[in-house]
Symmetry: D2
Subunit: 142 residues, 4 copies
């Protein structure tokens, strides 16, 4: 039985993302996580717009990041985005960022999203049918 | 007869706005212009949300910036926002950014906004009544 | 004996910080935390540039945020930044964001910073003298 | 004799770049221009880091953008970056942004950069040798 699902995508560090120390400002990693989630969503058919078309929005309710190495302008980053299934009506992702050239782990992180009705903003206490079907299709038992 | 109307507001350069050269990345000046427009709008009752409440959105259709001096993290900036009336159904602002401590001019700029119907996105070819009234109230003849 | 030190500063939600759902994009909260740290640093003489003048840089090594309520363009936010002393050579801050009008808690967070030598980037395993003096001056016993 | 040199690169509109109206906030186009310049620089060997290795920094001294159509989250954008040679010690780029799917022109723009000595920040009144050689190699007569 599958216990996780992952995607790897590669991005470039932009000049405007580096700070006066020459390294990527820590807040931009949240953007990299979103780039990872976006690539994951496109690959597995579970993107933000897929949910939106079903009347659901999926706001981030918590985020965490551990910064291990710095990144510099011109470097390329591999963003590994790992979906971990859970029983609650939540969507949990783990992130691992690597320096694309050296393979060194530069940061790890995690985020949790919940499901809200697009019109009423009501929190969904059970998984939306669309998400349940997706989990089954991907081979997850819970 | 009045020919312009202006506001001055002061902002701080954030650490995360400076680039690897230690100076503010040029793209952030567009943000400073918006801070200026925001302060102008609050002072004179013509903010983005004032328009929105009247069913109008006011997108920027062009922007220009001349960078004369650099700005560094920790410095404070005076944003002078100057409204120039025109006969067309447009809203034109000029911007002057000064180093707050030295008074030196660091950048100048300009922007043009148009009026769209919030629901249909249709371009308004004449000034919305709300804006006409505002111009009259401010003492502009055109 | 003092066990924490805090500052409250107020900021405005910018138009360009809200996303297509009309609410502040979650990544911008990291910026609000930095605004809070900046205000704290200015108030108590322990800002980024104070450290830098002593040859020390203080990168963020982890960050966490729990999003409880949404923020919208035009709203004002109180950022409460709380310093918690610890024995390790680290600087730990806690953040509480409130809707300035309603007083409702909208987010909580935390960050950890370490001390690096500005020239060599070497991690400082004990607190820099400058920071020890600051802690003593502020009335912290550890 | 060649009179211009261009590159086309494709980027995606990020969720966090769209504003409460659902369209890309105008300030982000300056970022797209930089993405275009970056792709141009990598293709033709005249990137920011190429200059930097020669002791030169190339700050943007003016920028202009005309916004013609809106862009939405999920859309892809073709950034066409066109170098126009000039006799002055400046580097001028023109930008054309197209909706990648429809081919419709969504924005045009322009920027000017100058050459500064990396150490002294002194403005270079003549083209740096590195840039002269590049122009000759690319087939430009002036």
């Amino acid at each position: 039985m599958k216990t996780e699902l992952s995607d790897r995508t590669e991005i470039s560090v932009r000049f405007n993302e580096a700070d006066p120390l020459g390294i990527v400002w820590h807040g931009h990693y949240v953007r990299y996580f979103e780039d990872g989630r976006e690539a994951f969503g496109q690959k597995y058919g579970i993107g933000y717009l897929d949910f939106y078309a079903k009347g659901i929005v999926v706001p981030v309710v918590n985020i965490h990041c551990d910064f291990k190495r710095s990144l510099r302008y011109g470097e390329r980053v591999v963003v590994e985005t790992i979906y971990h299934p859970c029983e609650a009506a939540k969507m949990k992702f783990e992130y691992k960022l690597y320096n694309a050239e050296t393979g060194i782990l530069v940061a790890t992180g995690a985020s949790t999203q919940v499901f809200l009705d697009k019109e009423t903003s009501a929190l969904q206490l059970t998984n939306p049918p669309y998400f349940e079907e997706w989990k089954a299709r991907m081979g997850f038992s819970k």
